[in-house]
Structure formats: structure tokens, C-alpha cells
């Protein structure tokens, strides 16, 4: 896998440019680099991960040993997504391989160049008998899902997630669902007066810098106190210009919308007259180039589609609040997102965010970084999915933890066996409570 990535870096860059117009830097940061890093980490840790772990045992069992032994599930199915067609396909593959499974990989048909690139080249680098790449659309997915798998790992939308889990239920197959959701960013301006520039960069980076907002951990909407809203919009606009120039349409650093369907979906979000009226920056589109300008909306109606559905594109609604503490109720009254970002220096506020909202992850004062931490589990909760991966969690996701207890034949504890009487009952009660002194007294006949 490491070789595959090294040899094919340029070709991967080209494929990504073709499918979603990703710049090589972005492609390296979000795709090639992620895969290389993950493969290297697995390589250096897999021996440690595979080793059985000892479990503690109470003395009554003596002599005995307890172990937890990771065991591969068997034959697993991985369904990738189109927004990060390399990393979100190959990172789970690395996980499944580390855990020792045979794998069928189904790249997304919506990123056709990457899909066929993987289908063509993976068999050249990896054992083609144990790792198969199957290309295709919905009909192929349906056929694959009818088969019995020992694990299914799916990255994508909630709608398809439900279909995958329903199909998995027929065979009692465990699933990991990596979905998305409306990930909010909270901007507590009053506690952060001096760092506005850095914050603006991090917000723009997390909205438009990652596949033009077509990322599951991209910022979906922004919460800010009313009095800071217009300053924030100005600053964001400035940062956008700094990143993508006066005309982002020409920028090589800005991704296109993946396909016509998504382009139309995003335009529909904007079409609602009340939403259209709320556009505060940007809003221009070019259908030929599948381009939508970085767009900021100020207070679109909360019941409009743009605020009820995951946006997954370069539109950023800003919702203003009287007091930034209201953001906690705002978030917790909606489905659980995959990520929450909060820019604040207020420790009390941080604590409240952590304890009163639920999300896959919380990142303070930055964006997207949680994805890069191998020591952190990456995955959703509630509507944003379940199951987790990255680092050791990747290995665990594709392993069954087999419990093992080993005993000798001696000594035998007579009271374990029927016919039952009150002495035996007493004995076992004490043994369960690990009351060894009581046990000795009982055996000596000193205790009733």
C-alpha cells in the first residue's frame, strides 16, 4: 500500500483533479498523505495490536489465565465515498488488512476516474485473491448488499446508511456507518478579540478549503452573536479573497461541485426566495464549470432546507444569537452532528459545550484537525453514524475481540457441583464476593 501511494502520487493527483478539481496540496493533505500516514502507522503497530491482551482474573479461578485475542472478522465489504475518493476508500482498506480480513472494495461511482484508477491499480500492488475492487453504481451496490459479509464499512449519506444497515440486518452483519450531519462552528467573538484573523482562516479553511465544503467534517453553519456578525462577514470575505483571489472561479485551489445532481441540489437550496434574500456574500454560479462561489448567508430561515439538511457544498449560513451561550440549546435541539467547532477562550463555555451537546468530536479553536489525530477515535453518534476508526481504532473496527479463559484440571472446587445444599450455596456466594477469609472459615466449619 505504501508503495502504491508512492508510485502513483501524480496519477492520483490527476484523477482527483478530474473528478472534483482538487489541487495537489489539498489532495496530498486530505488523501495521499492521510493514506500514507495511516499505512505507515499500521505497519509499525500491527504486531502490537495483534498480540492477545491479558485480562485480570480473580483468585478463585487459580490456576487460570484470561486473554482477549483480536481475530479478523472474515470477508468484509468497504463502500467508499466520492468526496475523498482515495482516503475514504483506502484508509478503511488499511484497517481491514491490518486486522487480517479479506476485502471487497467498492469505490464510489460518482468519482469515476478515481474508481477506475483504483480498480486498475490496486490489484497490481495488493494480493488480488484476498482484496478485490468492484466498480459500479446502485445496481452493483444492491447486489453486493444481498451477500453475507462479516462486516460492512460504509462512508456516505444517512439515506444510504439506512439501506446498508437494513440489508446487513438480514445476515446479522455488524456495520460501521461514517455519515455526516450539520456540523456547526461556534464563534465566541467576545472572548477572542485578538485572534480574529487566525480564526477566519481556520473557518474558511474548514468550509471551502476541504473539497469546497463537500466534506463530512466541513463546517455546515456558523453561530455568532448578532453584534459581531457584520465584522465577521467582512473578515471572512477578506480571507476568501486572500485564499482564492478576486475571482475564485479561476482559482486552482478551489474544488468544483462533484456532479450535476449535487450542483442542482445546492442551487435548489439557494432558490428559496427567503434564502436567496439572505445571501450576504458571493452567490454566483457557473454551471459549465460546476462552480459555485464561496457564499455566505446571513440568517436564512431556520425552517428552510438549507438549515434542515446537510449542505455539503460551499454555502455557509451564519445564524446570529443574542448571547453565544444560546448556541448550546441551538445545537442540542438538532440531530447530533459529526463535529462541533468552537472558537472561545471562555473555560466555562467550553465545559458546557462538552457536557451539554453531543457530537462525534469537539474541536476548540481550530477545525478539521481531529481527523488527523491517530490517537482519537473518528466517527459519529446518532444521525452522524456509529463505529469509529483511525489509529488503533481502525484495527479494532475490523476485529472481533475473542475472550479466552484457560484452566487446568486441578484443583477442583467440589461445591460447584449438584446436588445442591445450603453449604454449597454459602460457599459459592462467598467465592463470588471474593471473600477468601470467609471461604476458609466456611471450609473449616467455623462459619455458618
Amino acid at each position: 500500500m505504501i508503495e502504491f501511494v508512492q508510485d502513483n502520487e501524480e496519477r492520483i493527483f490527476q484523477a482527483l483533479d478530474q473528478d472534483v478539481g482538487k489541487h495537489p496540496v489539498e489532495a496530498y493533505r486530505d488523501e495521499v498523505g492521510v493514506v500514507a500516514k495511516s499505512a505507515k502507522l499500521s505497519l509499525s503497530c500491527v504486531e502490537k495490536w495483534m498480540a492477545p491482551r491479558k485480562g485480570d482474573l480473580p483468585l478463585v479461578f487459580f490456576p487460570a489465565s484470561a486473554q482477549v485475542m483480536p481475530e479478523p472478522f472474515g470477508v468484509v465489504l468497504i463502500m467508499g465515498s466520492w468526496n475523498f475518493p482515495i482516503s475514504l476508500t483506502l484508509d478503511p482498506l488499511i484497517a481491514a488488512i491490518s486486522a487480517g480480513n479479506a476485502v471487497v472494495l467498492k469505490p464510489s461511482e460518482l468519482s469515476p476516474t478515481c474508481s477506475s484508477f483504483l480498480a486498475e491499480n490496486i490489484p497490481k500492488y495488493l494480493d488480488p485473491k484476498s482484496i478485490k475492487v468492484i466498480e459500479g453504481g446502485i445496481d452493483v451496490c444492491e447486489q453486493l448488499l444481498q451477500q453475507k459479509w462479516d462486516k460492512i464499512f460504509f462512508t456516505g449519506s444517512q439515506r444510504v446508511g439506512r439501506i446498508v444497515m437494513t440489508a446487513a440486518a438480514q445476515h446479522l452483519t455488524p456495520v460501521t456507518l461514517e455519515l455526516g450531519g450539520k456540523s456547526p462552528a461556534i464563534m465566541d467573538s467576545s472572548s477572542n478579540p485578538t485572534n480574529m484573523k487566525v480564526i477566519a482562516k481556520r473557518i474558511v479553511g474548514a468550509k471551502w478549503g476541504s473539497c469546497s465544503g463537500q466534506a463530512c467534517i466541513a463546517i455546515d453553519y456558523l453561530l455568532v452573536e448578532e453584534r459581531f456578525a457584520s465584522d465577521l462577514i467582512d473578515l471572512l470575505a477578506k480571507t476568501i479573497k486572500q485564499f482564492y483571489g478576486e475571482n475564485p472561479r479561476e482559482s486552482k485551489s478551489y474544488c468544483k461541485i462533484v456532479n450535476k445532481n449535487n450542483f442542482k441540489r445546492l442551487l435548489d437550496l439557494l432558490k428559496d426566495p427567503l434564502v436567496e434574500a439572505s445571501v450576504a456574500y458571493g452567490g454566483s454560479v457557473d454551471e459549465e464549470k460546476m462552480y459555485i462561489e464561496p457564499t455566505i448567508l446571513l440568517n436564512p430561515p431556520l425552517d428552510s432546507q438549507i438549515m434542515t439538511e446537510e449542505i455539503f457544498g460551499p454555502l455557509l449560513p451564519i445564524i446570529t444569537l443574542d448571547d453565544i451561550y444560546e448556541s448550546i440549546d441551538f445545537i442540542s435541539s438538532r440531530p447530533k452532528p459529526l463535529a462541533i467547532y468552537a472558537f472561545t477562550r471562555d473555560e466555562k463555555f467550553k465545559k458546557q459545550i462538552l457536557s451539554r451537546t453531543s457530537s462525534g468530536s469537539v474541536t476548540f479553536n481550530d477545525t478539521l484537525l481531529q481527523f488527523l489525530c491517530d490517537s482519537l477515535p473518528f466517527g459519529g453518534v446518532g444521525q452522524s453514524g456509529f463505529g469509529r476508526y483511525h489509529g488503533k481504532y481502525s484495527f479494532d473496527t475490523f476485529s472481533h475481540e475473542k475472550a479466552i479463559l484457560q484452566r487446568g484440571f486441578f484443583p477442583e472446587l467440589e461445591p460447584r457441583y449438584p446436588p445442591w445444599n445450603s453449604f454449597k450455596l454459602h460457599f459459592i456466594k462467598l467465592a463470588y464476593a471474593f471473600n477468601y477469609i470467609g471461604l476458609i472459615l466456611l471450609l473449616l466449619g467455623l462459619k455458618k
Partner: protein, 488 residues
């Protein structure tokens, strides 16, 4: 709740909806999250078990004629142990776990926070109606959730005792009990839950998971399967026999998910084993086991009919070498051993879940692996041997929820081992810390400051940024320095 003609209230979808909303509101209030709430509920469960030991044993006697010792040891003591462990460890379990951060994200700190999932549904089974209801309940409480418990309608005395006792001892706003059968369960399954914990069979497991898919709810399925016992010839046969007997008939007369389902042994060992089983069974349960007070009865007439069907199949009925006695009037079936049943018989295709124990013979003990692996993955696999190599082979080639060498069923009582199935025997695990984790979301938290903002992260992108990015992601200090200095 709707009302029937007889004036009885019915638990329908609407009632289930109200109930789930109530639980959701309680959870949102934050009440169940506090350490104090969790501890007080756990202590109350211990108190309930202590104060109602007799009532619980009585209910189990009514439902299953379960021997008092089994009731107290396998149901009550196990639950109390789970509570004691949770009370002792909870602070530690709840603490956020520090996570290492890499150079890539420097300067930063990270932790993993254990967060309750929300409102959860626990559907339990009839064979250990207290243990399999209260043990997951303890887990859900320890993790700080609001919950509803649906005990099995097939153990009615236990179910109604739980419905009576739990509201008396536990916070009845956050912990609800719904009694009922299929329609009540369906009504509950139509609601959105944050976790469903189901103990039972694969058929219903599929229904539960498909229902959960509608709301993307994660599930734990504790199912069963045909758990094999492989008996090698080089062992202390008497000890092995006795350990098999307590695991099989001594656990609710074979009606347990980890109960040995069948034995595989070598041809020359089979006779010795059968003799030893006969001898020890008689020592344990007397000459007339149908009268023994130390054996549970079959739970109901449906299961009685299912089991006698297995026995009465043409190619099976002639294979009984011990037992076979039955009494339909009081739903009793004696411990029964069958030798050499064909592998295509019903008794070898279905999970037996009763007092029948078929023995298969192979010429080489290693052949047993193929027999086991030709079926679905069982919840437990047992091996009796002194042969180190065989042990290793068994561990490597047999997949099961848990494996016990030279004993049966004991792994259930070890808190440091995860208890749960794989494949057809289920998914997810619990016991000890695993119980807490089963009802917990692991939230990743990253703290950053505003220094150390590398412009390389941001557009406009250049080739130089690509070099630096490569260095940063690999996290190698020297490569980073080189890239910064423009050397690479």
C-alpha cells in the same frame, strides 16, 4: 394508552411514543448524567437484590423451576457483582482519557470523553430473566442513560416482579419497565432509541436490527448458537465430565446461551466419556432426574414440543444412550445424551437450548475444527485437553464469541473479558468495563490555541506547500525543518 373492551390498558405505538419522549426529556435535563445519580441507582439495585432474594427465587421457581442455588448464584450474585464493580470503578471509567497528539497538530491537547448515548431500549430474555435484564440495566445506568426495559413475556412471574420492584427502588422517571409480548415490543421498536440492547435469538435479532436501521440506532445483539465442546483423550475425564455437566444441565437445564450444545470427541474416547457422564449425572441428579430439585424445567409447552421434536426425528431417536425420559405434564425432560447423530439431523442444525447433548465422534481430534467451522460462529467454544499445540490450534482456527479451555461457561463471570458473540452469535459485548463502553459514545475532543498557525494549510496552494505538508503529515521533525528551509 388505548383501552380495550375489558377496560385493560394496552401499550401501543402511541404509548411507546409518549414513553420515549418522556425518557428523552429526562435525559435532556441532564439528571442521569451525574455521578451521584448513577451511584444511587446502582446501590438501589444491590439493595433490591438483597431485600427480595426470596421473591426473586420464587419467581424463577414459578417460571422455570429454577433451583434456588442457580437463581441466587447465576442471577442475583452476578448482578450484585456487576453493581459492586461499577460502583467501585465508575469514577475512573467516567474520567476523560488523555490522548496523545502528534507534531502535525502541535501545539494541541486531546482527550476522549465518555458520554451517555441518550434514551436506550433493553429487551431481555426468559432464560435468565433477572440477570439478562438487570446486567444490561446496570451497564446503561453506569454509562448515564435514560432507559426502558422490556423483560421477556415468556417468564411472566419474573417479568411482573421486575415491573413491580424496579419503580420502587429506582428513579422511575428515568428507568421504565414495559411488560408485554410481540405487539408491545414492536411498538417500542418503532420509536427512535439511541441504543438497543437485545438478548435472544437470531430471528428476532434480525428484526431488531432492521428496525434500528430506520433511525440509524446502534445495536448490541446477544444471541446464541451451537457452542461445541471438544474433548481430547489425554485428560482427567472425570473433572472434564463434571465441568461439562454444570455448564450444560447445571445452567438452567441447557437453556442458556453459553450452554454446551454438542460434544466432539475421538472414537476411542467416546465410550469412556459416555460412561463418565452417566456416572456423574447420576451422582448429581439421582436415579430419577425427572424428580430432581436441582434441574430446571422446560420453560413452556412450545419449547417442550420443539425439544421432543428434535428427539423424535427418525434418524435421531435411536441414538439415545442415556436419559430420554420426559413428562409433558410438568414440562420436564431428563438430561439426555445421544451418540453418533447424523450431522444433517435437526438436532445438529438448530441451537438445542435444552437438556439434550449429542456427541459426535471423529477419528482425529483435529477433525473437530472442520465440523465447528462448517457451521455458523458460536457464542462459546470449549476445549478439554492437556495438549499445548492443540490448544494453540484451537484458539487460532475456531472463531467464537469466547473460548474456554478445560472448563465451561466460567468466562461469563470474568469481568476483564468482553462477553458477546460474533457472526450469527451476535455483535457487541459487555461485562465489566465493556458494559460501560457498550452504552457510551467516545467523543473526541481537541484543544488548540492560536499560535502555531502554519500558512501551509491554507490556499492559495503551491508546490512548496505540498513539500511542507508532506513533512508535517509524516510528523518527522527533520523533514519538517528541511522543508521549512526549502532543502528538499
Amino acid at each position: 394508552m388505548a383501552t380495550t373492551e375489558e377496560g385493560k390498558t394496552v401499550f401501543d405505538v402511541e404509548a411507546a411514543n409518549v414513553l420515549s419522549k418522556e425518557l428523552r426529556d429526562v435525559f435532556a435535563s441532564g439528571k442521569t448524567r451525574s455521578y451521584e445519580w448513577r451511584i444511587s441507582q446502582l446501590k438501589s439495585i444491590v439493595k433490591m437484590c438483597d431485600e427480595h432474594e426470596e421473591d426473586i427465587a420464587d419467581a424463577l421457581r414459578q417460571d422455570l423451576s429454577k433451583p434456588q442455588l442457580e437463581s441466587i448464584v447465576y442471577e442475583l450474585t452476578m448482578v450484585k457483582n456487576s453493581c459492586t464493580l461499577a460502583i467501585k470503578e465508575l469514577k475512573h471509567w467516567m474520567m476523560p482519557e488523555k490522548a496523545k497528539t502528534s507534531l502535525t497538530t502541535f501545539p494541541s491537547s486531546a482527550e476522549i470523553m465518555s458520554e451517555p448515548l441518550g434514551a436506550v431500549l433493553i429487551i431481555s430474555a426468559w432464560n435468565y430473566p433477572f440477570l439478562l435484564s438487570l446486567d444490561p440495566l446496570v451497564a446503561a445506568i453506569a454509562a448515564g442513560n435514560a432507559m426502558v426495559l422490556k423483560p421477556s413475556e415468556l417468564a411472566p412471574a419474573s417479568s411482573s416482579l421486575l415491573a413491580k420492584l424496579l419503580p420502587k427502588y429506582l428513579d422511575c422517571c428515568s428507568i421504565k419497565v414495559v411488560e408485554g409480548a410481540v405487539s408491545e415490543t414492536c411498538a417500542l421498536l418503532e420509536q427512535k432509541w439511541d441504543k438497543i440492547f437485545y438478548t435472544g435469538n437470531g430471528r428476532v435479532g434480525r428484526i431488531v436490527m432492521a428496525a434500528a436501521a430506520k433511525y440509524l440506532t446502534p445495536v448490541v445483539l446477544e444471541l446464541g448458537g451451537k457452542s461445541p465442546v471438544v474433548v481430547d483423550s489425554d485428560i482427567d475425564i472425570q473433572v472434564a465430565t463434571r465441568r461439562i455437566i454444570v455448564g450444560k444441565w447445571g445452567c438452567n437445564n441447557g437453556q442458556a446461551c453459553i450452554s454446551p450444545d454438542y460434544i466432539i470427541t475421538t472414537k476411542d474416547c467416546a465410550e469412556k466419556l459416555v460412561d463418565s457422564l452417566k456416572k456423574e449425572l447420576e451422582a448429581f441428579y439421582g436415579k430419577n432426574p425427572l424428580e430432581s430439585k436441582d434441574l430446571s424445567r422446560i420453560v413452556n409447552s412450545d419449547h417442550y414440543a420443539r425439544l421432543t421434536n428434535l428427539l423424535d426425528e427418525d434418524k435421531v431417536s435411536g441414538k439415545i444412550v442415556y436419559g430420554g425420559e420426559r413428562n409433558e405434564a410438568n414440562l420436564r425432560i431428563a438430561p439426555t445424551i445421544l451418540l453418533g447423530v447424523p450431522q444433517n439431523s435437526l438436532i445438529m442444525k438448530e441451537e438445542i437450548f435444552g437438556p439434550l447433548l449429542p456427541i459426535l465422534t471423529v477419528s482425529k481430534i483435529e477433525d473437530s475444527f472442520d465440523i465447528i467451522n462448517s457451521g455458523t460462529k458460536p457464542l462459546a467454544a470449549y476445549l478439554f485437553t492437556n495438549n499445548k499445540k492443540l490448544k494453540q490450534q484451537f484458539l487460532m482456527s475456531v472463531s467464537a464469541g469466547g473460548v474456554v479451555i478445560n472448563d465451561t461457561a466460567l468466562h461469563l463471570t470474568v469481568h476483564s473479558l468482553p462477553f458477546g458473540g460474533v457472526g450469527e452469535s451476535g455483535m457487541g459485548s459487555y461485562h465489566g468495563k465493556f458494559s460501560f463502553d457498550a452504552f457510551t459514545h467516545k467523543k473526541a475532543v481537541v484543544y488548540r490555541s492560536f499560535v502555531g498557525d502554519a500558512s501551509v494549510r491554507y490556499p492559495p496552494y503551491t508546490r512548496g506547500k505540498l513539500r511542507l505538508m508532506r513533512a508535517l503529515i509524516t510528523g518527522n521533525v527533520w523533514t519538517i525543518l528541511r522543508a521549512l528551509l526549502g532543502w528538499s
